[in-house]
């Protein structure tokens, strides 16, 4: 891994400054542990996700960052053998509490996946699906409105507005990923989880998605898993470093990349391992 460029460092610092005023904690992990069967994949993670900030989770493969991300909207529930311990709160509410419905939680905490995964339906249907199952639009005009604004927020409206009824799978990889982001936005979530959203994209498409993430920060809280140090530095305000299932260090992105407390973080971001 290359050492970060001066340019991206400055950007990261600038972003950090802008975000100072806003330090509300949106989600909090408290001693989160995850077991897959007998094997423990995550140990005692205490991590805060701040409102209207981008939190990047970094670390080598298999370190538990995706596992943690999937705990935040209980996607781990879909794996039979997975078991979560500890406590995760969304606006002070325990999301693993019996009173919280997982369907409602996922409407509040949306997710964008590593590989673009549009439904094999039209672009319009892809975006409209979420609002439809949650009953967010009563009339067709309302739905059209939601679809248009979601596609606009995801910065893909101009590219697809003339072919809304063509299949979403016919778009290029980068467009598909932005379509997936539009689909996630359409249900008006509070938090958007992104699991390596750019790993299947070329640098140009990556740049567009990164720009988009920065814009979305105004209205949403974002947690992003990434393997790219530059990406973490460019888009995030806070960074958390995972290693072997433990949270090594968490802090403001500029500090993490210039003066980390832990030697493992230092080694990882300078490319000495991982």
């Amino acid at each position: 891994m290359n050492i970060m460029t001066e340019q991206s460092l400055e950007n990261a610092v600038g972003d950090k400054m802008n975000a100072k005023s806003n330090e509300v904690i949106k989600m909090r992990g408290d001693k989160v542990g995850v077991f897959y069967g007998e094997k423990q994949a995550l140990f005692d993670v205490n991590l805060d996700v701040r409102l209207n900030q981008v939190t990047a989770l970094i670390g080598p493969s298999g370190c538990g960052k995706s596992t943690f991300l999937r705990c935040l909207n209980r996607m781990n529930d879909t794996i039979d053998s997975a078991r979560v311990t500890g406590k995760i709160t969304l606006d002070q509410e325990d999301i693993y509490d019996k009173s919280i419905d997982v369907v409602e939680l996922r409407a509040r905490v949306g997710m964008v996946f590593q590989k673009p995964n549009p439904f094999p339906k039209s672009i319009y249907e892809n975006v409209a699906y979420g609002p439809r199952i949650h009953g967010l639009a009563k009339r067709k005009a309302d739905m059209d409105q939601i679809v248009e604004s979601s596609l606009k927020k995801a910065a893909i409206w101009n590219e697809v507005k003339d072919r809304l009824h063509e299949p979403g799978t016919g778009l290029s990889g980068g467009q598909q990923q932005r379509l997936c982001i539009a689909r996630a936005i359409a249900v008006s979530p509070e938090v958007i989880l992104m699991d390596e959203p750019c790993s299947a994209l070329d640098p140009i498409a990556t740049a567009r998605v990164e720009e988009l993430i920065d814009e979305l920060r105004q209205n949403y809280t974002i947690v992003i898993v990434t393997h790219s140090m530059q990406q973490a530095a460019r888009v995030s305000q806070r960074t958390a470093m995972f290693h072997l299932g433990y949270l090594v260090e968490e802090g403001a992105t500029d500090k993490m990349f210039t003066n980390p407390d832990d030697k493992r973080t230092q080694d990882y971001i300078t490319g000495r391992f991982g």
Partner: protein
Amino acid sequence: MTDIPLDTMVRAAAPARRDIGLKARYAAERRFRIYGVLAISVGLAFLAIMLITIVSKGYTAFWQTTVTLPINFDEKIIDPSNKRATDPDVLIKANYPKLADKALMAKLGIDPSNKPMALKLKGFLSEGARVQLRDIVVADPSVIGTTRNVDILAAANLDSAFKGQIDLNVEEARRKVSDQQIAWMNQLKADGTMAEHFNKGLFTYGASSRPETSGMGVAIIGSFYMMVIVLLLALPIGVAASIYLEEFAKKNRFTDLIEVNINNLAAVPSIVFGLLGLAVFINFLGMPRSAAFVGGLVLTLMTLPTIIIATRAALAAVPPSIRSAALGLGASKMQMVFQHILPLAAPGILTGTIIGLARALGETAPLLLIGMVAFVADYPKTPFDPATALPVQIYMWANEAERAFVERMSGAIIILLVFLMAMNITAIVLRRRFERRW
């Protein structure tokens, strides 16, 4: 780098070639290819022999010889005592074959009082003439007293002789058609009275002891009822079971056990399902014997494992990314399955179902055990009436000795094969058309 002239460069000596066994490796590959081609050729040869035999024996079954005779519906023969107004049975019991015989004798110029000649005519026309003429009269009694042309079926032996299937070099006493009959046949053939027509009866007649009046009508209806019952029962039950097992059930030892058992059930010999049907549906639940309904139930049991296995495979083939996408948007599991997974798995499910149905259509053994191997002459009006099935009809005809039944059996096999091929082609077309790629 390239400023050193080529000739001054030191040439590296080529290292000695190692023997890495290339010859032997290529020889092994050639041998394997030859084995493969041989295996395929043998398979194709047997397939070709089978198809050629069946088609060459069976295509004549689609043609039937008839004799067109001007039948005089003589009141003196049909209703000598003129009681038909009061007793409708008169029209049913009347001596119709005599009408046909009289017309034939008139055509051939035989004097009806010449008893030895009249006796030789016996077995020229089918006994089915009785039913043919009776149906005409019962449907419209006003024909009595008039004359009209009717295509009377020739008897099976004359039909065979007409099609050239009887060896005339065999001495007369040892063949079923006499020289006199052959002579008459040639006479009628010459004036166009006796001719071959498309054999509609093969598709409409029920069981009969006379080949020329036996057909697959009852078997086709019976098979149709059973296919409908299998489709109505096996498809929903199979798909529901697969969805539950694949998407909802927790994977534990119990579901593993169920899975193993379903796979084993698919391999259980079909006759065992027949025994089960006999014991449970007929003996224990008291359902009617020989009924298409019971046959449908037995075939449903037999088809279920096939459909479940195909459906589970189709469901499992839907990429996990689609599941994640739906769940990540807050779809409930039910919404995920019915709005995303099932539509994507539908082509696979459909293909599996059609292949299961095709297997059920060709199944014979279990139907023998529940009594569908019966002599059923009348169309079954409901699935609870006695019926037979296509493969069972083939089995029954195969047990008959007469030349004409062998011909009909081969014809029935052709029809069954055409049905099966149509179903399989439908399955392939559906899969091609609706298959999605990711």
